[in-house]
């Protein structure tokens, strides 16, 4: 069977664009299900993307880079938790502060670590791993199963998240905490601890999204789509200032659009990923200025939220600091 329409490459591209969104959306899910709005996904991704590249650059190992990226995500998550759970500050303000810190901080550290702004040197990254057998499926095989290991990790995380929410104590308590923290408190469970756990997990999942951005393999295509410039292969697997380009917010939109469920959020991430993939692979065929074409994924996000976002039911206690009587 021949892939006359080019569906294989389109799907492959969709997966690559959707992966960072998917990680971040799952991250947002754990945070919001615990009752903490995480608008800081963007900043968490950006800082982790940078920390991953630094770790990989220093050690020459992508795995070390993954570890430093995760550590950075965890750290930022704990900061967000400390400010919004322990200090009971406004969660939006805390998130916004983290986003600003991430943007300015990574820009500054680029100068101090690598001696110049813009783009970091290339580092070792997670190359695509072809899974024999599965990758031989016509059309979709190559797209789904010749990807970075991080993509495979996301494949596993989706059912795992469903399982955790439905079938574990932690999941049950987390869901309750995001809805009626008083019930959790009176059941003798620490609301603060549950929320720290949720936000910390959120930070690490967002970190995976960030690390995939800077150390996955799809960079050139993405930057091309978003900047309108085709970058040379030598720029693969590097950190670029503000390389998240609002993906954290799109992930948040995916979470809302997916009604705070793992499967829904991934579905929404795939939809937004498809929009970006379409821009990259087919955008130049459309007889309108490329700047407008590049807006498509963002416009789609707005339309999706405007159409369905209002009806989505957020965890009832999300965004509200918990104060004991």
């Amino acid at each position: 069977m021949d892939d006359v329409l080019g569906l294989g490459p389109l799907l492959a591209s969709t997966i690559r664009f959707a992966t960072p969104l998917g990680f971040a959306a799952l991250g947002g899910l754990f945070s919001e299900r615990s009752g903490v709005v995480n608008i800081a996904l963007e900043g968490m991704m950006l800082i982790s993307a940078f920390a991953g590249v630094v770790g990989s650059y220093a050690s020459g190992s992508a795995l070390v880079g993954l570890a430093t990226g995760l550590a950075a995500g965890l750290l930022i998550g704990l900061v967000h938790a400390a400010v919004s759970v322990s200090l009971q500050a406004d969660q939006i303000i805390s998130g916004t502060a983290i986003n600003l810190l991430a943007l300015g901080g990574t820009g500054f550290l680029m100068e101090t670590v690598f001696g110049s702004g813009g783009t970091s040197p290339r580092v070792s990254a997670f190359d695509p791993v072809r899974i024999p057998g599965l990758a031989d499926i016509p059309i979709i095989g190559e797209a789904l199963f010749n990807q970075s290991v991080l993509v495979y990790l996301l494949y596993l995380l989706v059912p795992l998240t469903v399982f955790v929410l439905r079938r574990t104590r932690f999941g049950l308590r987390l869901r309750a905490t995001g809805e009626v923290p008083e019930a959790v408190d009176t059941a003798g469970i620490s609301v603060v601890r549950m929320r720290y756990a949720g936000v910390a997990l959120s930070g690490m999942l967002a970190a995976l999204g960030g690390v995939y951005l800077s150390m996955g393999v799809a960079l050139s295509g993405m930057l091309a789509a978003l900047g309108g410039v085709y970058l040379s292969m030598s720029l693969l697997s590097a950190f670029t200032e503000n390389m998240t380009l609002g993906r954290g917010f799109i992930a948040l939109a995916a979470l809302i659009f997916g009604r705070w469920t793992p499967v829904g959020a991934i579905g929404a991430a795939l939809l937004f990923g498809l929009a970006q993939a379409l821009v990259v692979t087919r955008g130049s065929d459309v007889p309108i200025p490329q700047e407008f074409v590049a807006m498509f994924p963002y416009v789609l996000t707005i339309i999706a939220l405007a159409t369905f976002g209002g009806r989505a039911v957020a965890p009832a206690a999300s965004g509200k600091p918990y104060r004991k009587e």
Binding site: T168, R169, F170, R175, A176, E179, A183, V184, G188, I189
Partner: protein
Amino acid sequence: MEDRAPHRQGTAADTPVLEMRGVTKRFGAVVANDDISLSLGRGEVLGLLGENGAGKSTLMKILFGLYTADSGEVLVDGAPVRIASPRDAVDLRIGMVHQHFVLVGPLSVAENVVLGAEPGAAGLFDRGAAEQRVADLAARYGLAVDPSARVGDLSVGVQQRVEILKALYREARILILDEPTAVLTPQESHELFRVLRGLVDQGLSIILITHKLGELKQAADRITVIRDGRVIATVPGAGTSEGELARLMVGREVKLAGRRAAAALGVTTDAAEEPAGGADAAGPGGATAAGAATAGGGATAAGAGAAARAGPARRGPRGRGRRRCGGRWRPGGAAAGGVREDGGERPVRLSARGLVVAGVGGATAVHGVDLVELAAALAGTRPARAGVVELDGQDVSRLGAAQRGERGLAYIPEDRSTKGLVRDFTVAENMTVKTFDEPPFSRLGWLRPGAIRRFAARLVQAFDVRPADPDARAGSLSGGNQQKAVVARELTGEPGVVIAAQPTRGVDVGAIEFLHARLLAERDRGAAILLLSLELDEIRALADRILVIAGGRFVGELDADRATDEQLGLLMAGREMAPVGGALDPGDAAAGGRGTAADGHPPGSAPL
């Protein structure tokens, strides 16, 4: 109640299960609990009676570890204990059913019950085992509930059972219930007391907190009365009259009368239209139930109706054409959000002057959500999804709240602190929040603070808002005074229609008396009043006609003079009155609720 358990176990001779000695708790300058001592015997139901704000809830929160007492001690089985958190209380096998349930709506019954002590190995949650245990527990204590049901879908009465199950799952032997009947139908209350009796028979001890006299007499072995944070007396449940309890609770003689004082001032009555009162008392079943249900009456309401109900009724001007300030609402699927579509075009007319029409909410998933939605749809603060709202015969469906207000619709929202007032504004600013842009409060776009203050000072005086300071921050007022301020603003300008949603929720008895009197005065002036309340006592005290909403629809209308608590309870539980009359415009229909059908329900002339 007729099935009152004959075997009172009373206080056992041995050590009390629970004892509180000299418990004192202050909040700033306010002493909420002042040297309170009480004891609870094994297998005993102890009633804790007091007004709102008397300190009952504070005391129980201390017992449950939500507050820490400043001084005094708590003894369980004769041994002093320290209860610093709900966890400590649970470990001592003390369970609490809060007035506002602490349930997670999207989770199942079983999930709610086992939360915090989930069955399952190695961090897993064994849903099947949880449901099985909850089912076993429910069967053992006679609490009918489906463990796999989603809690948010359950009626209030069933949700309460879930709360009780939560305590039982943690092996509570002391159960505290805070105002358990506040939102229950009479039947649900009855069922609750049956369940409690069963629990006591199995060895539990129960503290029942309430401000309703009748139900305490019915359920409690002993009653401890609290006033202003102090224990006033402890009396036996049987053999103490309601009047005596009311006097102990309030500290003065209480007028057990509501609307009847105003009866004579009612709107012109076409006497010929009215058959004599008492002639058609509800059927035998209804009559007995009425006797029992009166026991549920609160301080201001108990028995109020009974005497006056036989008197000449103050029917509205039926057959006399539509009055100037009638309101009319056709609920063709009225109200926004959670209220379901209504089937047909069944206009409800709040027609006529001088009537209090009251709505009671029944079996709804969330407390009073139907009533709240209805009030908001009528007032125009939320769009109705379908249907027509008419005011004075004019369609106002498309008008906003402000425009409806200008046409004579007053709206007292159910939540004074978020919907009725701007908490951070002064009382004066709140008084003019709807009229500040009109003369004399502003001129050429500039506010005139002097005029605003003078106006507010007058209202504050007239409505006895304390402190009588127009410059006080609205949020700093007590609940009752906040509500008086809202009512003062809304009743200014002689509105034709007043929509009052739970106007006395959470306010003290004095304020309730005052607010009730004001509403009745408005009625006597000629306003049509729609009182939306979950408190049956309040409805009985004020209403002339009673409409019942359950599951988002009107299920019946009753004449307040003849309605029995049993009838109301059945309607509130969602049992629709049948058949519903064919007349679409009740203005022309015969008076609703006249006569008695064989089943004890009024015939289907109810103009819904």
